[in-house]
C-alpha cells in the first residue's frame, strides 16, 4: 500500500514561562492511502499537537526541533527551514527567531492546508465563526484552493447546449454506471464540473423523476456580461488574473466578479452538505452556526474539510462533545466517506471504544511518543505495551458478567520535566532497570505491529 504521509522523529516542544514543555519526543508514523488511523492517548500525550504539526498550525511558542521530518506525498516540507537543534534549546533560547521560523513554516504550508490536508476540530460549538453564514464558511475554503473548479462549473452551465442536455438525460436514463458515463461525457465535451451538478440532482430524495429532469433542463444558464465572462475564463484556464485583482478591490465590481464565484461556492456548498445527509441543505447554507445543533455543526465542519477533496483529513476528537446517538451518526458518516472518496483519515481520540468503531490501525501515544501501533484487532486483542494493556483494562466493558476495571496507578508525566528512559516507567508494573535509563526502540513484533518496550525483542 502506498504511504501518503510519513513522519520521522518529529519533536515539537513549547517554550513557556515555566520551562520547555516537551509535547512530542520523536514520533514515527506513516499513513497509508484510504485508511483510518486512530491516535489514542490521554490528555497531555501530545496527540493534538501531532495533528496541529501536520497542519502547520502550531502556536507561535512552538519549536520544531531539527531532525524532524514530515513527508507528505514524497515531499519533505521541513527541510527548507533552518530549525533549531535540540542542544540549542535552553535558557538562552532565542524565542523571537524561532517565532519567525514558525511563521515561515505556517505561511509556506498555507497552500497545502485545506487542499491536501484538512482538519476537523473537537468543539463543534466554537469551531465555526458565529458571525458568518454556513455557506460562506464553506465557500471560503473553496475559493482558497478551487476557484478554478468553481469557474469551470459556471462556464459548463453557460456552455451547455440543448443537445448536451438531451444526451445527459439519455445517459441518466439508460446507463448502468451513470457516474462513470457522465464523467466521460463531460471530459469529451469539455464541460468540466457539469457531472457533479447532475449527480446532485439525481441523488436528491425529495423530488420525483419528472422534476429532476426539469431541473437538469434548467441547468443551462444565460451568458453573463463580458467582463465577468473573461474573468471566469481567465480563472478557469488558471491564468494570472492581473488587472482583476485590482478590480476586485472596488466594492461594486467586487460584487460582480468575486460575487459570481461566491454564489457558485454556495451552490457547491449545498451539494457538499447534501452529500453529508444534511436535510434542507439549501436553507442551511444561509443559516448561522448558532441555529444548528452540535451534530449538524460537526457535519458542516466535515463539509469544510472535504471541500477541496484533500488526501488526508485529521479528525481531532470530532465526536467527544456529542451525544452517543449523534456520535454514532458521525462515525458512520466517516466510514461511508472512507469507502466513497478514498481519503486517508487520522482519527484522534481519547476514547478507545470510539476508535474501535472506525479505525483500520491504531497508534497509542504516551508522553509524546507512539508506544504501540498496529492493526486494530492486534491492538485490542493482542496488545503488547503495558500502557495499552492498562488502558484497555481501565475501560468498563458492557458484558453480562462484569469484570472490575483496573486503573493505572499514578498520573501522566509532567512534560516540562519528563522522566528519563521510558516515559511510562514510573507507572509501569513490569518496570526493569533498563527502563529507567534508556529509551526503548520501536520493534516490529509481528507484521505491521510495532511496540516500544524492553519487554519485547532481544
Amino acid at each position: 500500500m502506498s504511504e501518503i504521509l510519513t513522519i520521522n522523529n518529529l519533536k515539537v516542544w513549547f517554550h513557556t514561562r515555566r520551562g520547555t514543555f516537551k509535547a512530542l519526543n520523536g514520533v514515527n508514523l506513516n499513513l497509508r492511502k484510504g485508511e483510518v488511523l486512530g491516535l489514542a492517548g490521554e490528555s497531555g500525550s501530545g496527540k493534538s499537537t501531532l495533528g496541529l504539526s501536520i497542519m502547520a498550525l502550531l502556536p507561535s511558542n512552538a519549536i520544531i526541533v531539527r531532525g524532524s521530518k514530515i513527508i507528505l506525498k514524497n515531499r519533505d516540507y521541513l527541510k527548507y527551514f533552518e530549525l533549531f537543534p535540540e542542544e540549542k534549546i535552553d535558557r538562552k533560547f532565542k524565542i523571537k527567531k524561532n517565532q519567525k521560523i514558525m511563521k515561515h513554516i505556517r505561511d509556506f504550508l498555507a497552500k497545502i492546508r485545506g487542499k491536501e490536508v484538512s482538519m476537523v476540530f473537537q468543539e463543534p460549538m466554537t469551531a465555526l465563526n458565529p458571525l458568518l453564514q454556513i455557506g460562506y464558511q464553506i465557500t471560503e475554503a473553496l475559493l482558497a484552493h478551487s476557484s478554478i473548479n468553481l469557474a469551470k462549473r459556471i462556464l459548463s452551465r453557460i456552455n451547455l447546449t440543448e443537445d448536451d442536455v438531451r444526451e445527459i438525460l439519455k445517459i441518466v436514463k439508460s446507463s448502468k454506471n451513470v457516474e462513470k458515463d457522465l464523467n466521460e461525457f463531460s471530459k469529451l465535451k469539455k464541460l468540466d464540473g457539469i457531472e457533479d451538478q447532475v449527480l446532485y440532482i439525481l441523488n436528491r430524495k425529495d423530488l420525483s423523476t419528472i422534476r429532476k429532469e426539469r431541473m437538469i433542463y434548467s441547468l443551462k444558464e444565460k451568458m453573463k456580461n463580458p467582463l465577468t465572462m473573461s474573468y471566469l475564463k481567465k480563472i478557469a484556464e488558471n491564468k494570472s488574473i492581473g488587472i482583476y485583482r485590482f478590480l476586485n478591490r472596488i466594492p461594486i465590481l467586487k460584487r460582480y466578479l468575486k460575487g459570481v464565484l461566491i454564489k457558485e461556492g454556495y451552490r457547491k456548498a449545498i451539494e457538499l452538505l447534501a452529500m453529508l445527509n444534511i436535510p434542507h441543505a439549501e436553507k442551511v447554507v444561509y443559516m448561522y452556526p448558532h441555529e444548528l445543533s452540535g451534530g449538524m455543526r460537526q457535519r458542516v465542519s466535515i463539509a469544510i474539510a472535504l471541500a477541496n477533496n484533500p488526501d488526508i483529513i485529521i479528525l481531532d476528537e470530532p465526536t467527544s462533545a456529542l451525544d452517543v446517538i449523534v456520535q454514532y451518526q458521525i462515525l458512520q458518516l466517516i466510514s461511508e466517506l472512507k469507502y466513497k472518496l478514498n481519503i486517508s483519515f487520522i482519527f484522534i481520540s481519547h476514547d478507545l471504544s470510539v476508535l474501535a468503531e472506525v479505525c483500520d490501525r491504531i497508534a497509542i501515544m504516551y508522553g509524546g511518543r507512539i508506544v504501540e501501533i498496529g492493526p486494530i484487532d492486534k491492538i485490542f486483542y493482542e496488545s503488547l505495551h503495558p500502557y495499552t494493556k492498562g488502558l484497555l483494562r481501565a475501560i468498563p466493558k458492557i458484558s453480562k458478567d462484569i469484570k472490575t476495571i483496573e486503573s493505572i496507578p499514578g498520573t501522566v508525566p509532567d512534560m516540562r520535566n519528563p522522566p528519563n528512559g521510558c516515559m511510562f516507567h514510573p507507572r509501569c508494573p513490569y518496570v526493569m532497570d533498563v527502563c529507567r535509563n534508556k529509551v526503548p526502540k520501536s520493534i516490529e513484533y509481528s507484521k505491521d505491529h510495532f511496540v516500544e518496550c524492553f519487554l519485547y525483542g532481544e
Binding site: E42, S43, D206, L207, S208, I210, R211, S293, G295, D323, V324, I325, Q327, Y328, Q329, L331, Q332, H350, D351, L352, S353, V354, A356, E357, C359, I376, D377, F380, G390, L391, L392, R393, A394, I395, P396, K397, I398, K400, I402, T404, I405, E406, S407, I408, T411, V412
Partner: protein, 433 residues
C-alpha cells in the same frame, strides 16, 4: 426486602423562559411527570442525552432546586409509601394530603431541612468550578459537616484528615488550595466532601466525565469502595452508558424530560424495550472492533422542550411509531404539504391550498374535478414507509371542492410493566384489552 430511601412521584420542573418586556408564560419542561423510587444500598444509573433533564432530576431529588409540582419522600417508613401509592391509585385526595403534610420532604423547612441535608449530598461533574478557589481543601471538606451540624468545628478538623485518607489523599492536601490539585485529585476532594456527613443518599452527577480514562477508573473504583464501606445509596447520572452499566444495579433511561424505561441493568442493556433505548444502546461505541453491529438509525433531533411533541415525546423520531403515538395535525401537515407541493407537485396541479382544520383534521382545497382524491390516497399510501407521520391518517373524505384528511386521536403513554420487570413508557407494551 430493602427499604425505599427516596421516592418521588409525578415530579415536574418547568423553567420560565424570559420573553419580550414582561416574562412570557412559556416554560421549558425540563422534567415532566417523573416518578422514581430508589431502595437502600442501591445504585441507580440515570442515562440520557444532553438536555434530557437528568441533572435537573438529580438536583430535584435532593431539593437543590424546588420542583414545580410533585411529591418526594425521603427515608420514610415502608408502610407510608405503600399507603401513599394506594391512595394515588384510588385518587383519594384527602389521604394524599394527609400523608404529604406529615411526611413529605418538600414540607421540610429551615433548620429541619438543613439537618436533613446531612443524609444527602451531591458531587458535580466539573472538578474545576465545584470547589471554591479561595478556600483551603480542609475548609471545603469540613463545610457540610459544620453546616448540617453533623459535628462540631473541632471534631470536623479531625474528620477531615480521616476523610482525606479515605479518598486516597495524604494529610498535607488539607492545606492546599484547589488550584494546586490535578483534576483527579479535585474529584477526590469533592467525593470526600460528599461523604463527609456519612449521607444515606448521594447524587453523583457525571463524576468522571471530565477525567482521563485511567483516572476515571481510579475514581470509579474509589466510589465503589466507599459505597460498600458506608452503605450509601447512589443516583449515578451519566451520559456514558458503559460506565453506568459498570456502576449501577438498576438503570433509568430519560428522554426529553421523561423516564422512558427503567429496570434491572442487564435487562435494559441487553434487551431494551423502548425504541429510544434500543437506538441509544445500539449506538454505544464498544472496545470490540470485530463485533457484529445492529444499528438503529434515528432521524431528526432532540425535541424542543418548550413545546414538546404530544403523546409519546419520542414519536416523531420513532422508527416503529404507529397511529396513536401522538401525531397531531401540524406534524402531518408538514409532510402532506411536502408531498403535494414539492415531491409530487406536477401530479397535483389543481390544488389551491392546504390548511389545518383542527388538531386532528387537515383540509386540501382544489379546483376542477380531477381525480385528486384517488391520487392522494395512492401517493400517501406509497409514502407511508418513508414518512412515518402518514400512518396516523384515519380516513380521507371528499367534500365538494375539498378533501378532508382525518387523523387518529393519540394516547398518552404511561409506565407499563413488561415481562422481565422492566417499566416502559411505550404504547407497544400496554396490556391488550
Amino acid at each position: 426486602m430493602a427499604n425505599v430511601i427516596i421516592a418521588a412521584y409525578n415530579l415536574k420542573k418547568y423553567f420560565p423562559v424570559g420573553g419580550f418586556l414582561f416574562s412570557s408564560k412559556q416554560t421549558i419542561k425540563a422534567v415532566d411527570d417523573v416518578s422514581i423510587k430508589i431502595k437502600e444500598n442501591e445504585v441507580v444509573g440515570l442515562v440520557g442525552e444532553t438536555g434530557c433533564g437528568k441533572t435537573t432530576l438529580g438536583k430535584l431529588l435532593i431539593r437543590l432546586i424546588e420542583p414545580t409540582a410533585g411529591e418526594i419522600f425521603f427515608d420514610v417508613p415502608e408502610e407510608i409509601i405503600v399507603e401513599y401509592e394506594e391512595a394515588l391509585k384510588n385518587k383519594d385526595t384527602k389521604k394524599i394530603e394527609k400523608i404529604s403534610k406529615r411526611y413529605s420532604f418538600l414540607n421540610k423547612k429551615g433548620g429541619e431541612l438543613r439537618r436533613m441535608r446531612r443524609y444527602m449530598n451531591i458531587v458535580f461533574q466539573d472538578p474545576y468550578s465545584s470547589l471554591n478557589p479561595r478556600m483551603l481543601v480542609k475548609d471545603i471538606i469540613a463545610e457540610p459537616i459544620i453546616s448540617t451540624g453533623y459535628a462540631s468545628k473541632k471534631e470536623a478538623e479531625e474528620l477531615v484528615f480521616k476523610l482525606l485518607e479515605e479518598v486516597g489523599l495524604t494529610p498535607e492536601f488539607a492545606f492546599r488550595y484547589p488550584h494546586e490539585l490535578s483534576g483527579g485529585q479535585r474529584q477526590r476532594v469533592a467525593l470526600a466532601r460528599g461523604i463527609s456527613t456519612l449521607p444515606k443518599f448521594l447524587v453523583l452527577d457525571e463524576p468522571t466525565s471530565a477525567l482521563d480514562v485511567s483516572i476515571q477508573a481510579q475514581i470509579l473504583n474509589l466510589i465503589n469502595e466507599i459505597r460498600k464501606k458506608y452503605s450509601i445509596t447512589i443516583l449515578f447520572i451519566s451520559h456514558n452508558i458503559s460506565v453506568v452499566h459498570y456502576m449501577s444495579d438498576r438503570i433509568a433511561v430519560m428522554y426529553a424530560g421523561k423516564i422512558v424505561e427503567e429496570g434491572y441493568k442487564n435487562s435494559i442493556i441487553f434487551d431494551p424495550k423502548h425504541p429510544y433505548s434500543k437506538a441509544l444502546i445500539s449506538s454505544i461505541p464498544r472496545p470490540e472492533p470485530m463485533r457484529e453491529k445492529i444499528i438503529i438509525n434515528l432521524q431528526g433531533e432532540i425535541p424542543n422542550l418548550i413545546n414538546p411533541p404530544k403523546g409519546c415525546r419520542f414519536h416523531p423520531r420513532c422508527p416503529v411509531a404507529f397511529e396513536e403515538c401522538g401525531w397531531t395535525a401540524d406534524e402531518v401537515f408538514q409532510d402532506i404539504e411536502y408531498i403535494i407541493m414539492r415531491r409530487y407537485a406536477e401530479q397535483f396541479n389543481g390544488i389551491k391550498r392546504i390548511y389545518i382544520e383542527d388538531d386532528f383534521t387537515i383540509s386540501v382545497e382544489y379546483e376542477g374535478k380531477n381525480l385528486i382524491e384517488e391520487k392522494l390516497k395512492e401517493v400517501l399510501n406509497k409514502e407511508k414507509q418513508e414518512l412515518r407521520s402518514l400512518i396516523s391518517i384515519k380516513n380521507i373524505k371528499s367534500e365538494s371542492t375539498k378533501i378532508k384528511i382525518e387523523l387518529y386521536k393519540f394516547v398518552e403513554p404511561e409506565m407499563y410493566k413488561s415481562k422481565d420487570g422492566i417499566n416502559v413508557r411505550c404504547l407497544l407494551y400496554r396490556e391488550k384489552k
